[in-house]
């Protein structure tokens, strides 16, 4: 299906696709026993916590339905709400910028930082800035970016990539984190242990001076209220509060879909998000600010980067409801085994498998819609009820359509499907085909089939053909009745 005249994803720069397709990358990570142990332990811990705090609320399903409906209202009236937000933020002393893609957003932020004269910035964990590759862009401009969220710090110091939306260093255990700190923190105590409290203390000491002297901070946003211009950042450690409060200049980069229409709508999302993400009744700190406050300069960068292309597909647009809680990652059997890096995008797991291909266009992420068993656990836990399994099936169809448009000659898969379709369309042809399969019974258990069938067989058992087909059984039964 193509969407004629619709915005197509045309992205420049960013971290939304990997160098390898998912099956190849996953094969590597599944072979890493340490990674599988770390992921298994972490995802099981968080699953239990989430289930416990969700069951405390008698109205969870009602909140979930309201959350989905509020986000759908945002998507249906996005232009109106964005203009309202812009007007409110501007009226309260903030400056609003618009960025079509990653490159444009990076240029806007780099120019804003340069204008302050600062050569370094502190950063609050933000998926949007990960998505656009802002740190790399700042580095090229000679500006050093310091990640201040503990997990982001572990990833940055480890010269690593994030592998989870909420806990980017979920693939690291405590002893690996200790080694990274000992190697990369110049001021660290050499007697550092791997007790989590000691590791947190080390991060506190390492970042303290940065917080107190930083001139510029860069953040994302969890929510923006169109009605009032209020922005919200939800966090745990206090690094967010440090960045949002102390520096003279605050730059917030936010996807255009992160809106809620009214202040009141936050009453829904402030219940859905913490319980779904960290499994807490409420995260330790939430900061909210409207425009430029307490003498700060405030800039808001509104980012498209493929979101309008996602919005254009009626069967795919509800992926934009996502509030980045990562509950779907924690319950996914594929994520638990393959890990986040295998997805190649900063958005891994089930939501990444539907969001990344839509943001980039399916041609740049054709393997991700297949990175799922369609078991549906992601849909069950999603706090905004995104039907990820149905969307995956829809995107698989888009991948097939896209390939058909790209190639004149049919692929082996298309040829096989066309043959199957021709055979199944006629009952005589179908009956003959079934008999042929039974006659080839000696071939049963064959593990060697010619490509492309070999790739199907390599990970699945070929079912044995029954001695008698249903059709033959039925015909026989009808005959014996007549007699």
């Amino acid at each position: 299906m193509t969407f004629l005249g619709m915005p197509a994803a045309s992205l420049t720069g960013g971290n939304l696709d990997g160098e390898q397709p998912f099956p190849e990358a996953a094969r590597l990570s599944v072979g890493n026993a340490q990674l599988r142990r770390n992921l298994g332990a972490a995802t099981h811990t968080i699953r239990g916590k989430r289930a416990a705090v969700v069951s405390e609320l008698p109205d969870w399903q009602e909140l979930r339905a309201a959350g989905a409906a509020i986000k759908d209202d945002v998507l249906a009236n996005l232009e109106r709400y964005l203009l309202q937000l812009e007007q409110q933020v501007t009226a309260r002393g903030g400056t609003v910028h618009w960025a079509r893609d990653a490159q444009e957003a990076n240029r806007i932020v780099t120019d804003l930082v340069k204008a302050t004269g600062a050569s370094e910035v502190v950063k609050v964990k933000s998926m949007a800035t990960q998505e656009i590759g802002l740190n790399e862009a700042l580095e090229q401009a000679g500006i050093e970016a310091f990640e201040t969220d503990l997990a982001e710090l572990i990833v940055q110091l480890g010269h690593d990539k994030p592998s989870h939306i909420l806990v980017p260093a979920i693939h690291r255990n405590r002893s690996e984190i200790r080694e990274i700190f000992l190697r990369e923190m110049p001021d660290v105590d050499p007697a550092l242990t791997d007790v989590p409290a000691a590791l947190a203390e080390a991060a506190r000491g390492h970042l303290r001076r940065k917080f107190l002297t930083a001139e510029v901070a860069i953040s994302g946003a969890n929510f923006a209220v169109a009605e009032t211009g209020t922005l919200a950042v939800v966090e745990s450690e206090g690094n967010g509060r440090m960045c949002l409060t102390l520096p003279k200049t605050l730059i917030t980069v936010m996807g255009i879909e992160k809106l809620v229409p009214t202040w009141r709508d936050l009453e829904v999302f402030l219940q859905l998000l913490p319980r779904s993400s960290t499994g807490e009744r409420m995260n330790p700190y939430t900061s909210m600010w409207t425009g430029a406050v307490e003498g700060q300069q405030f800039h808001l960068v509104l980012l498209d980067n493929g979101r309008t292309a996602t919005l254009a597909d009626p069967q795919g647009r509800s992926a934009l409801r996502c509030i980045r809680c990562s509950a779907c990652l924690n319950v996914c059997p594929v994520y638990e085994r393959a890990g986040g890096h295998a997805y190649g995008s900063v958005y891994p797991g089930p939501i990444g498998a539907v969001l990344s291909p839509q943001l980039t266009g399916v041609d740049r992420n054709p393997s991700l819609p297949y990175a799922s068993t369609l078991c549906g656990a992601c849909y069950d836990v999603c706090p905004v009820a995104i039907d990820i399994p149905s969307m995956l099936v829809h995107l698989r169809a888009r991948v097939v359509d896209d390939k058909r448009e790209q190639h004149r000659l049919p692929s082996p898969e298309q040829a096989a499907m066309a043959a199957a379709s021709w055979t199944m369309r006629d009952s005589r042809r179908w009956t003959r085909a079934l008999r042929a399969v039974r006659l080839s019974k000696p071939l049963r258990g064959w593990r060697l089939l010619p490509p492309p069938l070999s790739s199907w067989i390599s990970s699945r058992d070929l079912p044995a053909a029954p001695a008698q087909s249903f059709r033959d059984w039925w015909t026989e039964r009808e005959k014996s009745r007549d007699e």
Partner: protein, 201 residues
């Protein structure tokens, strides 16, 4: 607005109009969850939640404040404008204007709050009288919050209904914490590592 951002703005808005040219008609928003005013505030629940998040809860009267601080070894404390002077008759006070260095070297801070949420163990500061600007309750490693019983509301919707979004808001649920190491919660990172709550009864 620069020419570039004006062009980008126009193009993004145009893309949105084209993307929604099918006129999506979403389900109506039904608020049949527990909205503001539908649940009784439960003080015991509030205390239970705070303790669960490793905050220390005291119940009593304002004349206990200095004893609580003394027990923590705090001889001098940051006091925001609007905090009731009669509650701190003898202790050394640090008052605005305070620079970052002074805030960093202070042993602790006392504040009041705007509202509290029982169900989630949350205390909300809105920079009102007795609370000060946001940095005051952030940089010191110790924070004592005084909560009046009538400020405790039942649920998140109750708090949203009375808060003013145009004020800078800080929602605090226990001391600073992280779940970033093996997804296990550890108290104490960048914010105040010790949170004491005095509940006035």
């Amino acid at each position: 607005m620069s020419d570039v951002t004006a062009t980008a703005r126009a193009e993004i808005l145009d893309r949105i109009r084209r993307a929604t040219s099918d006129r999506p008609s979403p389900q109506p928003i039904v608020r049949n969850y527990r909205t503001a005013g539908t649940t009784e505030a439960d003080v015991e629940l509030f205390v239970d939640r705070l303790v669960d998040y490793r905050a220390t809860v005291h119940r009593g009267t304002p004349d206990q404040i200095e004893a609580i601080l003394a027990a923590r070894g705090i001889a001098q404390v940051i006091v925001p404008d609007g905090f009731d002077q009669s509650w701190l008759p003898t202790i050394g006070q640090l008052r605005e204007p305070l620079g970052i260095t002074e805030l960093d070297s202070a042993a602790g801070v006392v504040t009041t709050c705007a509202v509290a949420v029982a169900e989630t163990g949350t205390i909300v500061l809105d920079a009102g009288p007795g609370q000060g600007r946001r940095a005051l309750s952030l940089i010191p490693d110790y924070h004592l919050v005084v909560v009046r019983a009538e400020q405790i509301l039942a649920s998140v919707p109750d708090a949203i209904a009375v808060l003013d979004p145009t004020r800078p808001l800080t929602w605090i649920s226990g001391p600073s914490a992280t779940s970033d190491i093996e997804l296990k919660r550890v108290e104490g990172v960048h914010g105040p590592r010790t949170l004491d709550v005095l509940l006035l009864t």
